[in-house]
C-alpha cells in the first residue's frame, strides 16, 4: 500500500473515532435530558390526576375547572389507573397484568413515587394519601415527541458523521499528497540518475525540514560517488595510457626478433611466448578500455545513418588483410528484395566495427580454420546478422555466461581467449537497442545472431 493511502487511512480512522465518540456522548446526554423532562411531566400528570379524581369533591368550582383544564392537556397515549392500597397491601385487581411492575409500584409506597418503563411506555406510580383512603395513581404515556426528537438527532448525527468522514478522507488524501509531493519529486529525479549522468542533483529546497535534509544528504552522497567514479575513470585512462607504449614495444620487439633467422629453437620459443602473451594482453587492454568508455559515455556517442552491410564488409576485409589465411564468407539473403535502404541503420560506425571484429575474431579463433559464414538479412524493421562457425561449439552451461566479463567457457581453456570481448560486443549491441543471441551445438559449431533495429533512436 502506498504511504499516501496509509496516512489518509489512519487520519480518517482517528477522526472518525473522535467524531463518533462525541456524537455518541451528545446523543446520550440528549436522551437523558429528554427522559428526565418527560418523567417530570408524567409525575405532574399523576399529581393532577390524583387531585382531579380524589379531591374533586373538595374543590371549589373555579379551581376544579382550572385543574380540569390542566388535566385536559393529556400526554400521548396517556392512561390513568387507580390502585387501592391498604397499608402495605396493594390491590392489583382490574389492572392489565402487562403493565404491572410490582417492585416499582411497591417502592412508591415508601419513595412517594417511582418510574418504570415497559416497551415504549413510561409509567409513573404515585402514592397518594387521602382522607378517603390511600391510593396509588399509575399513569402511563408514550414519549412520542421525545422519541421523534431522538430519532431525528440520531439521523442527524449519522449524517454529519458520514459527511465529515468523507470530507476528512478527501482532505487527508490531499494533505498526504501534499506531504509526499517533494518525496515523489525526489523519486522521479533519482530514477533519472545513472552512471552516465552522475552530475545530476536533487532540488534541496530552502526549508530545513526532513525532506530537504534528505535531499542534501543524498546530494552529498552523489558528489562522493561522482568523484570516486571520475577518479576511477581517470585512473583507467591514465593507467592504460602508460601501459600502451611499453606493450607496443614489447610486442613489436618480440615480433621483430622472431623474424631473425639465427635464433636457437629455445630462443624462438621464448620470443614466441612473449609475443603471444603480449598480444593477449593487448587484446585485453583494448577491450577493457572500450568497455570502460562505452559504460561511461553510453549511447550518447555520435550516431549517424550508416549502411551496416558496408560496415561488415569493411570489417571482413580488414580481418582478411591482416591474416589472409582466415576465411570469412559473406552472404546476403533474399537479394532480389533488397534495396538501398535495406541495411541502413542509425548507429556509431566505429563501435559496430569493434563489435563485429570481436565476433568474427572469436568465430575464427574456434573454427579450426574452417570458413566462417556471415549472413545478412533485411527483416524490414531490423537487420539480422548471423555469424556461423564450424568450430568446437560452446557447452550449454556456458552459453548464458559468455557475455559476462572474464568468463571463459570450459571448452575454451585450451585456447587463447579473453572474456571481455564478448561483453564489450554485447554492450555495443545494447546501446544500439539491438539484441545478440548465441546458439551452439557441440563439435558442430556456434551461431551468433545479432539483430539491430533500423531506427535505434527510438
Amino acid at each position: 500500500m502506498k504511504i499516501k493511502y496509509k496516512i489518509a487511512g489512519i487520519f480518517s480512522l482517528t477522526s472518525f473515532l473522535i467524531i463518533g465518540f462525541i456524537g455518541g456522548f451528545l446523543y446520550f446526554l440528549f436522551a437523558n435530558n429528554i427522559e428526565k423532562q418527560f418523567k417530570e411531566r408524567l409525575l405532574e400528570r399523576a399529581i393532577i390526576a390524583a387531585e382531579v379524581l380524589l379531591e374533586k369533591d373538595n374543590f371549589s368550582p373555579v379551581k376544579y375547572e382550572r385543574v380540569k383544564a390542566r388535566f385536559l392537556q393529556t400526554l400521548p397515549e396517556e392512561k390513568v389507573f387507580y390502585i387501592e392500597t391498604n397499608g402495605s397491601t396493594i390491590n392489583y385487581s382490574g389492572l392489565p397484568p402487562q403493565i404491572i411492575d410490582t417492585s416499582s409500584i411497591e417502592g412508591s409506597l415508601t419513595q412517594k413515587y417511582e418510574f418504570y418503563k415497559i416497551g415504549d411506555l413510561d409509567f409513573c406510580s404515585l402514592y397518594y394519601e387521602d382522607n378517603e383512603g390511600d391510593f396509588i395513581i399509575l399513569i402511563s404515556a408514550k414519549n412520542t415527541e421525545g422519541i421523534a426528537e431522538l430519532n431525528f438527532l440520531q439521523k442527524a448525527l449519522f449524517f454529519i458523521i458520514f459527511i465529515s468522514l468523507l470530507i476528512i478522507a478527501g482532505v487527508s488524501l490531499v494533505f498526504a499528497n501534499q506531504i509526499l509531493k517533494p518525496i515523489n519529486r525526489m523519486i522521479i529525479k533519482v530514477e533519472e540518475i545513472s552512471g552516465s549522468n552522475l552530475q545530476l542533483r536533487l532540488n534541496e529546497g530552502k526549508g530545513k525540514d526532513e525532506i530537504s535534509r534528505l535531499a542534501k544528504n543524498f546530494n552529498r552522497m552523489l558528489s562522493r560517488i561522482e568523484s570516486s567514479f571520475f577518479t576511477q575513470k581517470n585512473f583507467i585512462q591514465n593507467a592504460s595510457h602508460e601501459l600502451r607504449t611499453p606493450l607496443t614495444v614489447i610486442l613489436g620487439e618480440a615480433e621483430f626478433a622472431l623474424k631473425s633467422s639465427d635464433l636457437s629453437p629455445d630462443d624462438r620459443l621464448a620470443f614466441q611466448k612473449i609475443y603471444q602473451q603480449a598480444d593477449h594482453l593487448r587484446e585485453m587492454l583494448n577491450s577493457l578500455l572500450h568497455l570502460s568508455e562505452i559504460k561511461n559515455s553510453g549511447a550518447s556517442s555520435e550516431y549517424k545513418l550508416l549502411r551496416i552491410d558496408e560496415v561488415i564488409q569493411k570489417t571482413v576485409i580488414k580481418i582478411n588483410e591482416t591474416l589472409p589465411s582466415r576465411v570469412i564468407h559473406l552472404e546476403y539473403k533474399n537479394i532480389e528484395d533488397l534495396n538501398e535502404n535495406s541495411f541502413v541503420i542509425t548507429g556509431n560506425e566505429l563501435w559496430l566495427e569493434i563489435a563485429f571484429t570481436n565476433i568474427l575474431d572469436n568465430a575464427l579463433k574456434y573454427s579450426n580454420n574452417k570458413p566462417v559464414k556471415v549472413f545478412l538479412e533485411d527483416k524490414l524493421s531490423s537487420v539480422c546478422i548471423n555469424v556461423e562457425d564450424q568450430g568446437i561449439g560452446i557447452q550449454p552451461q556456458d552459453l548464458s555466461k559468455i557475455f559476462s566479463p572474464f568468463h571463459r567457457g570450459n571448452n575454451a581453456k585450451t585456447r587463447k581467449g579473453y572474456g571481455i570481448g564478448l561483453a564489450l560486443t554485447e554492450n555495443i549491441i545494447k546501446i544500439h537497442k539491438g539484441f545478440i543471441h548465441v546458439t551452439s551445438i557441440m563439435k558442430k559449431g556456434s551461431n551468433v545472431i545479432i539483430e539491430l533495429p533500423k531506427d535505434s533512436k527510438t
Binding site: 600502451r244 606493450l247 610486442l251 613489436g252 621483430f256 583494448n286 591482416t322 552472404e331 538501398e340
Partner: protein, 224 residues
C-alpha cells in the same frame, strides 16, 4: 615506399623504423608535430604514420592544416584508444585509416599495404568524366547523373559503377569486380557483387526492358 613516422616515443618510432625497413621502405622520422608537418609539406612522402598525441602540434592539428592546404598525402593514424570520437574526428579530417595502440607489426604492414592499394588504384589512365546511355559520372566531384538527375550513391556503389563504366562492353567476372571495387583478391564466398549490382540497377532505374547493366550467366556483368 617512402614513409614518414611522426611519433614522439623513441622506442615505438625505432620499432616501426626497423620493421618497415625490413619491408624495403624508406623511412623518415619526426619526433614532434611541428617537425612532422614540416616534413610532410617539404618532402614527398607516400604515406605518413601519424601519432595523435604529439608535442608542439597534435596529430589532429596536422590533419586540419593538411586539409586546408589540400595536401592529399595518405595518412594512417596511430591512436591511443582514449575515445572513439577522436578516431571518428580524425577520419573525418581526412585520415585514411587508423591503428590502435598497442598494435602488432603485421597489422601495421597490412594497413599500409591496404591504404597504398586504395590510394594508388585509380586516377591514372582514366578520364575524369564518363558518359554512357544517359549515365554521367564525374570523378572530380564524385557525382553521378542519370538523364541530368543526380543519383546518390554510396562510395562502394560509386566505385562499382566506375569500374563498369571503365570497361564498357567488357564482361567483368565477380572476382575481378571484387578485386577492383573492394580490393579483395581472394574468394570471399560472397554474393556481395550481385547485391550491389542490384542496388545500382534500382538506383539507376535500370529495368529489364531497358537494361544497361547486363548479367552474363556464368561469367559476370557487363555494361553495354
Amino acid at each position: 615506399m617512402k614513409i614518414l613516422i611522426v611519433e614522439d616515443e623513441p622506442n615505438v618510432a625505432s620499432l616501426l623504423h626497423r620493421n618497415l625497413l625490413e619491408y624495403g621502405h624508406t623511412i623518415g622520422i619526426a619526433t614532434d608535430g611541428f617537425l612532422g608537418l614540416d616534413q610532410i609539406l617539404t618532402q614527398d612522402y607516400d604515406l605518413v604514420l601519424l601519432d595523435i598525441m604529439l608535442p608542439k602540434k597534435s596529430g589532429m592539428e596536422i590533419l586540419r592544416e593538411l586539409k586546408e592546404l589540400n595536401n592529399r598525402t595518405p595518412i594512417i593514424l596511430l591512436t591511443a584508444l582514449d575515445t572513439t570520437d577522436m578516431i571518428v574526428q580524425g577520419l573525418d579530417l581526412g585520415a585514411d585509416d587508423y591503428i590502435a595502440k598497442p598494435f602488432k607489426m603485421e597489422e601495421v604492414v597490412a594497413r599500409i599495404n591496404a591504404v597504398k592499394r586504395r590510394t594508388t588504384l585509380p586516377e591514372t589512365e582514366n578520364p575524369l568524366t564518363m558518359e554512357f546511355k544517359g549515365i554521367k559520372l564525374d570523378d572530380t566531384s564524385k557525382t553521378v547523373f542519370k538523364d541530368d538527375r543526380e543519383i546518390k550513391l554510396t562510395a562502394t556503389e560509386y566505385n562499382l559503377l566506375k569500374v563498369l563504366l571503365e570497361n564498357i562492353n567488357k564482361v567483368l567476372s565477380r572476382e575481378k569486380i571484387l578485386d577492383k571495387v573492394w580490393g579483395v583478391q581472394y574468394d570471399l564466398g560472397t554474393n556481395v557483387v550481385d547485391v550491389y549490382i542490384n542496388y545500382l540497377r534500382k538506383k539507376l532505374g535500370d529495368t529489364s526492358s531497358n537494361r544497361i547493366i547486363h548479367t552474363v550467366i556464368g561469367m559476370g556483368y557487363v555494361i553495354r
